[in-house]
C-alpha cells in the first residue's frame, strides 16, 4: 500500500505543478506543451501503478498503449481535414 500512497503523492505534486505553472502565465503554446507533458506523466503513473500494467505481462502493455497512441496520432493528423473541407464547399446552385 505504501507504494500506492507514494504514487498518489506524486500525482498530487504534479497537479500542484500544473497550477503553479498556469499561474505564472507563460505563452499559451508553452503552457499547452507543459500541461500535456505533465498530464502524460500523470497518466503513465496511473496506468503503470494504479491500473497495474507494470505488473502484467509486457505483451499486454505493448498491445494496448501503441494501439491507442497510433489512433490518437492519426486523429491529430486527420482532424484538420475537417476544417479544410469546410472551406472547399462549393456554393449552392
Amino acid at each position: 500500500m505504501k507504494r500506492y500512497v507514494v504514487v498518489w503523492m506524486g500525482l498530487l505534486a504534479i497537479v500542484a505543478a500544473e497550477v503553479v505553472i498556469t499561474l505564472a502565465r507563460p505563452a499559451t503554446l508553452v503552457l499547452l506543451a507543459v500541461l500535456l507533458a505533465l498530464a502524460i506523466v500523470e497518466g503513465g503513473l496511473a496506468l503503470l501503478y494504479f491500473m497495474h500494467l507494470k505488473y502484467e505481462r509486457r505483451n499486454l502493455l505493448w498491445s494496448l498503449i501503441p494501439t491507442l497512441v497510433i489512433v490518437l496520432v492519426l486523429m491529430g493528423h486527420f482532424f484538420p481535414d475537417a476544417f479544410r473541407l469546410m472551406h472547399q464547399r462549393g456554393t449552392a446552385p
Binding site: 500506492y4 497537479v15 498556469t22 498530464a39 505481462r57 499486454l60
Partner: protein, 203 residues
C-alpha cells in the same frame, strides 16, 4: 471436445489474464479514443476560433477544479485499497474502502454539478456564450465534462452494485479489480480534462 475447445485447452492465454479483464481493457481502449477525439475536436475548434473566451476565474472555478482533482485522485487510492483488501479476503475492509470510493465519487459529481449550475446561472449554455464570443466554448465544455461526469456517476453505481454482490459472495476479488480498472480510467481522463479544459481557459 470441439476443435475450438481443444485449441483453447492446448494453447496458453497470450496475456495470462482473465477474459473479463481483457474485456475491460478493450473497453478502456475504445473509451480513451472517444475522449481523445473530443479533446482533439476541442483543441482544433479553439485554435480555429479567434474569439474564444476564457470563462474560468482562479476563484472559484479553478480552486473548485483543484478540489475535484484531489478528490478523484484520492478515490483512486481508496479503490486500490479496496482491491488489495478484497484479494486478501478481508470482505468488510474491502467494502469500507469501496464505500469511501463511492462517497468521493459522489462528492466529485456534486462539486461538478455545482460548477455547472454556477456557469448556467451566469448565462452559459450548450450553444450560448454570455461573454459574446464563440458559443463553442460552452459546447465543448459541457460536452467533455458532461461525458466525464456520466462516467463518474456510472462508476459510483457500478461500484455499489459490485460491492453488494461482493458482500453476498456473488462477485469475487477479480470483479472488484476490474471495477477498479474502470474507476482509475475515469481518473486518468480527468488528468487530461483538468489541465486542458480548465487551466488553459483560466482568465
Amino acid at each position: 471436445m470441439s476443435h475450438s475447445a481443444a485449441l483453447a485447452a492446448s494453447e496458453p492465454s497470450p496475456y495470462q489474464i482473465p477474459s473479463r479483464k481483457l474485456g475491460i481493457w478493450m473497453f478502456i481502449l475504445a473509451d480513451a479514443a472517444t475522449f481523445g477525439a473530443m479533446l482533439f475536436a476541442y483543441g482544433y475548434l479553439r485554435v480555429a476560433n479567434p474569439d474564444w473566451n476564457r470563462p474560468f476565474a482562479f476563484w472559484p472555478s479553478i480552486v473548485n477544479g483543484i478540489g475535484m482533482t484531489v478528490i478523484l485522485l484520492t478515490s483512486s487510492l481508496t479503490m486500490v485499497a479496496a482491491m488489495l483488501e478484497s484479494q486478501r479476503g478481508r470482505t468488510s475492509a474491502a467494502l469500507r474502502w469501496l464505500g469511501a470510493t463511492m462517497a468521493l465519487g459522489a462528492l466529485f459529481a456534486a462539486l461538478h454539478l455545482r460548477e455547472w449550475v454556477a456557469l448556467i446561472g451566469s448565462g452559459w449554455r450548450l450553444f450560448r456564450n454570455p461573454l459574446g464570443g464563440t458559443p463553442l466554448v460552452g459546447a465543448t465544455f459541457f460536452s467533455i465534462t458532461g461525458l466525464h461526469m456520466l462516467h463518474v456517476i456510472s462508476g459510483v453505481v457500478v461500484i455499489g452494485v459490485i460491492g453488494l454482490g461482493f458482500r453476498r459472495g456473488r462477485f469475487t476479488a477479480s470483479h472488484v479489480e476490474i471495477t477498479g480498472l474502470y474507476w482509475h480510467f475515469v481518473d486518468l481522463v480527468w488528468m487530461f480534462v483538468f489541465p486542458l479544459v480548465y487551466l488553459l481557459n483560466m482568465r
